[in-house]
């Protein structure tokens, strides 16, 4: 059995060799496959995991997905140190080397154009979170206090809880007030995000807005109101990072998070 070919990225030929200790998906060190003026960074992966059917099942397994995504990123990260790679979508698998070569041949012009566009650029991720004014626990306590009997239960509310709502009407009024506070908070957060995005866009060659992250998956506190990516020349990255850092100070109740530098994952589209 020869195994399949997992392709991480397409690059221009780069002089610096990759570390011999670098491993990728399935624990296999990536190798370079050169075709004309392009290099595909490729790893051999077992059919029992990467043929269409097993892969489809694996992609729904969070642990497997997580390990594979990290292994993929590990290789892209190493490439980003020595060149500006064009990353491929997670789990792009070919039957053999010849399939990879044919793909490079067919897409050569588009790859070269995109690599030119990304050359010397990196991606920065900026997220804004609105801290929630109340925790889910405190809201659950309010819910249980709405029942007339449960307010007698000492476990139903912490000692630090605010004044008990005495009637259903008070309870509803309190809920409406909370809801309004939430809405104002988020309008504020959205306005802050809009201005931040506008400012950062001025320093970026391209931008992309990702969907807000699901708090269940991210385990981040607060609500994600902005999840954006910026394509920035390496030479201007320091200034970009400083700019983001400065905004962190004047945003009470909001949290700004910076990630990167990433390979230009969010800007690999050939249409842009």
């Amino acid at each position: 059995m020869s195994g399949l070919r997992y392709v991480y990225a397409v690059c221009r030929p780069f002089g610096t060799p990759l570390s011999a200790q670098l491993t990728g998906v399935a624990g296999v060190p990536p190798k370079q496959l050169t075709h004309h003026g392009l290099v595909a960074v490729v790893g051999q992966v077992p059919e029992e995991d990467f043929a269409e059917r097993p892969l489809r099942a694996h992609l729904e397994d969070l642990d497997w997905l997580s390990a594979t995504a990290r292994a993929h990123q590990n290789v892209i990260d190493a490439l980003t140190v020595v060149t500006s790679p064009l990353p491929l979508r997670l789990a792009t698998v070919f039957l053999d080397d010849s399939g990879v070569r044919t793909m490079m041949e067919q897409r050569e012009d588009a790859f070269l154009r995109t690599l030119d566009r990304l050359d010397g650029r990196v991606e920065w991720g900026v997220k804004v979170y609105a801290e929630s004014p109340e925790t889910p626990e405190s809201s659950a306590t309010v819910d249980s206090a709405a029942g007339t009997e449960s307010s007698e239960d000492p476990n139903s509310r912490p000692a630090s809880s605010p004044a008990k709502p005495v009637s259903g009407r008070d309870y509803l009024r309190q809920r409406r007030g909370q809801r309004r506070a939430h809405e104002e908070k988020w309008e504020q957060a959205e306005e802050f995000s809009r201005r931040l995005h506008e400012t950062l866009s001025g320093y970026a060659e391209e931008t992309r807005i990702h969907a807000p992250q699901n708090a269940v998956l991210s385990h981040a506190s607060g609500r994600n109101v902005l999840n954006a990516a910026y394509l920035v020349p390496r030479s201007e990255s320091e200034a970009f990072v400083e700019l983001v850092d400065r905004t962190k100070d004047d945003s009470p109740g909001l949290r700004v998070e910076l990630t990167g530098p990433w390979a230009a994952y969010s800007f690999s589209g050939e249409d842009s």
Partner: protein
């Protein structure tokens, strides 16, 4: 593993890029597992399976 360990990247940040970014290649030469729709379906399945175990903290607002 690389020699120098970097600060662990959050999985969601990684998935934003690996499942929504990167060049998508389709065609007879690949196994077509990188198809956008397929990955999106799988990710949705993944997220909803997580949701069943852990209720969303925003549920009280609905």
């Amino acid at each position: 593993m690389t020699v120098v360990e970097r600060r662990e990247i959050a999985l969601v940040d990684l998935l934003d890029r690996l499942l929504a970014g990167g060049v998508v290649i389709t065609g007879d030469l690949t196994l077509r597992i990188a198809d956008v729709d397929l990955v999106r379906i799988d990710l949705n399945a993944l997220i909803s399976s997580v949701n069943e175990q852990v209720p969303s903290p925003w549920r009280e607002l609905e």
